[in-house]
């Protein structure tokens, strides 16, 4: 013990320059050791598969069959295949309808939970977060039950307030999108949590200064809270859009459990069918890259315009 504590000091006083360099080199070596799991994981599970799927998209790859290159056939098929364009339309329509709710609802919830005057915050916080912990599959079954045309509580409530003929949510193609939006409101727990966490990080001096100037609660929320949490709003906006492009579980379970509704043909479900039911891995890879490029363009557009509305207090 004594030798190890004295050794660096005595050595550094004797020959400081070369020894310090080896410590820095050692530190760097340790750094590479610690970071290596991610480097390996990134190469094996992200970069390599991405390149592979790009290559697959130019082949007729089917599991078990020999692969041959077929040029841009898969990519041309994307634009002629009616199922793909229908899936893209359904996915975008749903994204446009549910994006405001997927961001607005957690913002309202986080603002309520962040309110200074609210009582019983710990229990309310858990209650707001419970739906997010419900296993997705259970959540879908719970909503199927809740949205049941005859016995579901939602339609009972509608009949109670005098709407005699409420829609049969999950079976009627016209109301399905709204039903899916309703199911989606249970998935906002994480967005709420990150927004709440960043609201709690807003310096209280800002609010105190605003109070001195006579600002009311709404003005403080609009002028201080929103700008201060705008980086987290940007983060959630991007993640929500990516999530909507990947929307899968709900339409998959619905298409299995209710009678087939063409309105559940979301892009990712269509991709799953192409790959795992029809085994056309090559065409499915082209579909995957297509939706990836769309998501990438959307993300870049958002980032490019974000400096107009996102405020970084640190200045970066």
């Amino acid at each position: 013990m004594a030798t190890t504590t004295t050794a660096p000091i005595s050595v550094s006083s004797a020959a400081p320059a070369p020894q310090r360099r080896t410590i820095a080199q050692q530190q760097r070596l340790w750094g590479w050791v610690f970071i290596s799991p991610w480097i390996f994981g990134f190469l094996a599970f992200t970069l390599f598969p991405m390149i592979a799927s790009l290559i697959f998209s130019f082949t007729d790859f089917t599991i078990g069959d020999p692969i041959s290159f077929i040029g841009t056939t898969n990519w041309e098929r994307l634009f002629t295949d009616p199922s793909t364009s229908q899936a893209l339309f359904i996915t975008f329509r749903f994204a446009v309808v549910s994006l405001p709710i997927a961001l607005g609802l957690p913002l309202i919830m986080a603002s309520l939970l962040n309110s200074k005057v609210l009582w019983g915050k710990p229990i309310l916080r858990v209650l707001f977060y419970i739906p997010y912990m419900v296993p997705a599959i259970s959540g879908i079954f719970i909503w199927q039950n809740f949205l049941n045309g005859q016995t579901g509580w939602l339609n009972r409530l509608f009949r109670l307030i005098g709407i005699a003929d409420p829609p049969n949510w999950l079976f009627d193609p016209r109301s399905l999108t709204f039903a899916l939006v309703l199911i989606g409101v249970w998935g906002v727990g994480n967005a709420m949590l990150t927004m709440l966490a960043s609201m709690q990080g807003v310096p209280t001096e800002l609010y105190e200064a605003a109070e001195v100037d006579g600002a009311n609660a709404l003005v403080k929320w609009w002028r201080i809270t929103l700008p201060m949490i705008s980086p987290v709003l940007l983060y959630n906006l991007v993640l929500t859009i990516i999530g909507l492009m990947q929307y899968f579980i709900v339409p998959y379970v619905l298409s299995n459990t209710t009678r087939s509704n063409p309105e559940t043909n979301f892009f990712n479900l269509n991709l799953y069918r192409t790959a795992f039911q029809f085994g056309e891995m090559g065409f499915a890879s082209a579909q995957a890259w297509f939706i990836f490029l769309i998501a990438l363009v959307l993300t870049l557009v958002i980032f490019a315009t974000s400096n107009r509305w996102v405020y970084y207090s640190g200045g970066n």
């Binding site: 592979a52 005057v117 599959i137 809740f146 990516i242």
Partner: protein, 363 residues
């Protein structure tokens, strides 16, 4: 402040505080906000109430007409001369009595007064269909047992737990190391690597799905848990980000003190960094646990046709395919499946919120 306290006991019924109006206003605003939030939560959690009520209903109760009460109830029957008869609410001069319907015809029917069966059959003029049946609340608790046995819940539960815990260990081991590297070590190009790391958060999984699946199929891992747990041993961007942000808030003085005492990087990680970062580590553990508990797509494609290895999320579907529509069993299983994650969140939430709050500040 001291004088105000002294004067208070003398005039207990009168609030002398100069801020009385402010206090009153704050109380009013507080109760309004709380009331609104409670209403909001009530509506938000309404489907859960629906789930509980269906999970506690028997098959017969569910097949009754739609305009039944939302609480599961069963018609009461009355045994008369060895046979069972339905009981109805009958308005009489003694108030409402419970009469059992013995012989039903359209215009008039014969009843027995359940309170006084010795009086024999009573002829009643009128349509018995206009009468309201007497019901009692009856919960079908045995749905849970039926569902438990039918899907072999202990096996599904054990599978889910094993997949979640192995993956959790993997992601903790690897993410802590990687976050430590990003937070403390001078690496060339570290900033670029960090941007790439964050970039993988917004990468849609489809684009890597097919080669990854083909790769796992080629090395014979499909039909095992390996594709579901092994990738977690190679760190995950979200967890690394969360932990790195937390590690950056820890003062470097302690690291340096330990280094002067001769501790190597591994020892500093184990003795200095990890003990100080428990909130963030618990947050990452809970996030992974909830993720694994809910993960559906992975088990669906990798454990296809292997029911003995499937977790709850995939196994639960059997009710919709094999047993025909049995909503009460589906809802009972849903209830059983969400109990453990909710308990874990309750237990962990104190640490967990601290971990998320601190990491949230940094971004």
């Amino acid at each position: 402040m001291a004088t105000a306290r002294q004067t208070l006991p003398q005039t207990p019924a009168y609030n002398t505080s100069p801020y009385y109006a402010v206090q009153l206003r704050r109380f009013a605003v507080g109760s309004m906000v709380t009331l609104f939030t409670c209403l909001f939560v009530f509506v938000y959690l309404l489907p859960l109430g629906n789930m509980v009520m269906v999970a506690l209903s028997s098959q017969e109760q569910l097949s009754q007409t739609a305009d039944q009460s939302i609480i599961p109830n069963t018609a009461i029957t009355f045994t008369y001369e060895g046979a069972e008869y339905d009981v109805y609410k009958m308005p009489t001069e003694n108030g409402i009595e419970e009469w059992a319907l013995i012989n039903a015809t359209r215009r008039s029917s014969e009843f027995i007064n359940t309170a006084n069966p010795e009086a024999g059959l009573i002829e009643w003029e009128g349509s018995w269909r206009t009468l309201e049946p007497v019901t009692k609340v009856e919960f079908a608790w045995d749905n849970f047992g039926t569902a438990w046995d039918a899907i072999n819940f202990p096996r599904l539960f054990g599978n889910t737990l094993a997949i979640a815990i192995i993956g959790m260990v993997g992601t903790l081991l690897s993410s802590i190391c990687v976050a430590y590297a990003f937070a403390r070590f001078p690496l060339p190009g570290k900033n670029i690597l960090f941007v790439i790391l964050i970039g993988t958060i917004i990468l849609p999984t489809q684009v890597t799905l097919i080669p990854t699946y083909a790769f796992f199929a080629a090395i014979g891992w499909t039909g095992t848990w390996l594709p579901l747990v092994v990738p977690h041993f190679f760190a995950n961007a979200y967890n690394v980000f969360l932990l790195r942000q937390y590690f950056l808030t820890l003062p470097r003085d302690l690291d340096e003190a330990a280094m002067i005492d001769g501790a190597g990087p591994l020892k500093i990680l184990l003795r200095v960094i990890i003990p100080q970062s428990l909130p963030a580590i618990i947050a990452v553990s809970v996030f992974h646990f909830v993720f694994a508990w809910n993960d559906y797509f992975g088990p669906l494609i990798y454990l296809l046709g292997k029911p003995e290895l499937q977790p709850i999320s995939v196994g639960v579907q059997i009710f919709n395919f094999q047993y025909g529509p049995r909503p009460e069993l589906v809802q009972a299983t849903s209830m059983m499946a969400l109990i453990l994650p909710v308990i874990i969140f309750f237990l962990a939430q104190r640490f967990f919120m601290r971990g998320v709050v601190v990491t949230g500040v940094e971004k």
